[in-house]
Assembly symmetry: C2
Homo-oligomer: 315 residues x 2
C-alpha cells in the first residue's frame, strides 16, 4: 500500500512515497521563502507528479503539520505561524482536485508517534508516549493502540506546555513556566545568553546556539555548556515523569535532532524515570526514536488506515 | 436501579443506598481504629444487611478506594496505606459470598467524577477533568464519555503528582516538586510551620492546620494565612492548566472539603485558566463540585452500568 507522505515544517517541507513500512523515496524542499501555504502546495503538487511517474499509484496523502488540526474535517485549528492562509484552505478539496487523492492530516508529533510505532522504536506496543525535542517540544500519546486526541484535538500534544515551574517565566503559549520555555530550541539562545558565566563560555562565540552546539561544547568540556545541557536534561526528565504519570505508557520514545546525542540523553532520563516515576507495576522504558526525520512520513500508512481500526477499548 | 455504594477512606467509610441519581440513605462509620480491611468489610456487611431490609434489593455494589485498582479484575494494585491485607483479599468473592451481589471497584477520585457527571456539576458533558483537593490531590479525566484509565490503571489519577517545580522537594510518591507536596492536606502543616513569619501568625496557635483553618484565618485577615492560601491557589491553578493541557476537557470540576470556600477558589482558578490555558476554541469552565462527600457514592450506578456502554470512540 503506497501513499504520499508530507511533513510540513516551518522552513522545510519533507515529502516521500511510503510503501507500508518502507520509505521508497524522500526529499525536502525549502519553504523558508514561501509567502503562503498555497505556494507550498503548488510546489508539492509538482514534486508529487514527478514521483508518481516513478513509483506508481498511491492510495492517499497523509500530511503532518506543526499545529492543532481537526482530523475529522481536515481543518487547521490553530495558526500555522508563517502560513496565515492555512485556516482558509480546504486541504481535502485541494488534494482531491489537484492530486485526485484522499487526504488525512494530523499534528506532526502525533504522526511521528504513529510512524515510530509502525516501523520504529514502538513496534508492537499499544501504550506509548513520544516527546520530540526540537524548536519546540512536541508530544503525543497512544493508549490501547489509538492516538489520544481529545475533544478539541489538544490532548497529549501540549506536553511541552505542562508547567515545570509555577514561578517561572511566561511562555510564548501564554502559560507560566512551561518546559518549552526552559529547554527547547527556540528558548535555548536566550537561556544561554542569560546563564551565569556565559561570557566566559566557548558558546559565547556561537552565533545562534542550537542543541547540536550545546552538546558538542559540553562534550568538549566547556563548564557552562555542561551546566546548560544538564539543566535541559533535568527539564526533559521532569516532563517525562509528568507525561508518564499523565498517560501511563509502557515506553517513552524520545525524538528530534538532538537525539544525535542519544547516548548522553536516554540513560540520564531513564535513570530519572526509574528514580521518580510512581508505579504499581514497574518503570516505563525510555528509548531513542529510530526513524529520525522520517518518523512522521512513516506514520502515513497507519494514519490513512486508521478509520478501519476498531475504536479504542478503554477498560 | 438500586445499588450499595461504598467510599472507603483512611479514617472513615461512607456507604449508602443509591437509586439512580438519588441517595436514599447514607452513613459513615469510623475506620480509624480498624486493624485491617477484613474487619472493615465485616462492619460493612452488618451495616448493609440492615439497610437492605429498609430499602430492598440492590443490583450490585460499587466501591471507591483511595488507591490504584484494576477494574477488570477488581484487584487493588497499590498498597492501601493502613490496610496491608488489601492486596490479598478477593473483593469480588467477598461480595458474592457475603452479600450475594456483583462488585465493581474503582479509584475514589474517578468514582467521584462519575458521580458529578451523573448527578452533579458535570451532567450532560463528555469531556471533563476533576480535581479533588483533600489530604491528597485526587484527579480523574473523562474523554468522550469514558473514564481514562490507562493500561496499568494509572492514567489521569496521578494529577497531584505532576511536577510543578523541577527544583522542588521530594514528594512522598518519589517524584520531585509534585503539586501535592506544595498544596495538599498532608503537606499543609509543614508548609505553614516553615513559612516565613509563621510564629507571628494566628495559625501558630492551631494544633494541626487544615484547609478549613487556613481559609478561616485568611478571611479573618491574618497576613501569613493569606500568603499560604494564595500559594495554594497558585499551585492548584498551575495544576489545573497542566491537566487541561493534558486532557482537553470542556470543564474542570473542583471537589474536596476545601470547596466550602468555593467562592474564594473557583473565580481565582477560572481567572488563571482564562489567562494561561492555550486553546484553539475557548477556555474550559472551572466549577465547584455539587455533590460534596456524596460524589463517589453517586458514581455507583454509572460504574455498575459501564460495561454496557459503547467503548470510547476516539477521533
Amino acid at each position: 500500500m503506497k501513499a504520499l507522505a508530507v511533513d510540513l515544517g516551518g522552513t522545510h517541507v519533507a515529502y516521500g512515497i511510503v510503501d507500508d513500512r518502507t520509505l521508497l523515496f524522500h526529499a525536502t524542499f525549502d519553504s523558508a521563502e514561501a509567502k503562503d501555504l498555497r505556494s507550498v502546495l503548488d510546489t508539492l503538487e509538482k514534486e508529487f507528479r514527478r514521483s508518481q511517474e516513478r513509483f506508481g499509484a498511491c492510495v492517499g496523502v497523509a500530511m503532518g503539520l506543526p499545529c492543532i488540526v481537526d482530523t475529522s474535517t481536515n481543518r487547521v485549528l490553530s495558526a500555522l505561524q508563517k502560513y496565515e492562509d492555512a485556516l482558509q484552505i480546504d486541504l481535502s478539496d485541494w488534494c482531491r482536485s489537484r492530486l485526485g487523492l484522499e487526504l488525512r492530516i494530523e499534528n506532526d508529533a502525533r504522526m511521528a508517534l504513529l510512524g515510530e510505532r509502525y516501523a520504529g522504536a514502538g513496534r508492537g506496543e499499544d501504550n506509548l508516549v513520544m516527546m520530540t525535542l526540537g524548536t519546540g517540544i512536541g508530544t503525543a500519546a497512544l493508549l490501547h493502540g489509538r492516538l489520544l486526541r481529545g475533544t478539541h484535538f489538544h490532548a497529549a500534544c501540549l506536553g511541552g506546555h505542562l508547567t515545570v515551574n509555577f514561578d517561572g517565566p511566561l511562555c510564548r503559549c501564554g502559560n507560566v513556566g512551561c518546559a518549552e520555555s526552559y529547554a527547547s530550541g527556540w528558548a535555548l539562545p536566550n537561556i544561554a545568553a542569560t546563564w551565569h558565566g556565559f561570557e566566559c563560555s566557548s558558546l559565547a562565540a556561537v552565533p545562534s546556539i542550537g542543541f547540536f552546539d550545546l552538546f558538542a561544547h559540553a562534550k568538549a568540556g566547556d563548564a557552562v555548556a555542561v551546566q546548560i545541557r544538564d539543566h535541559c536534561l533535568k527539564i526533559w526528565s521532569a516532563t517525562a515523569v509528568s507525561l508518564i504519570h499523565a498517560y501511563d505508557p509502557t515506553a517513552l520514545i524520545l525524538g528530534g535532532g538532538v537525539m544525535g546525542s542519544a547516548e548522553e540523553i536516554v540513560p540520564v532520563i531513564q535513570d530519572y524515570v526509574d528514580r521518580h516515576v510512581w508505579s504499581s507495576w514497574g518503570k516505563p522504558q525510555v528509548r531513542a526514536a529510530e526513524l529520525g526525520n522520517s518518523a512522521a512520513l512513516l506514520g502515513a500508512i497507519p494514519l490513512l488506515k486508521e478509520e478501519n481500526c476498531a475504536p479504542i477499548e478503554l477498560r
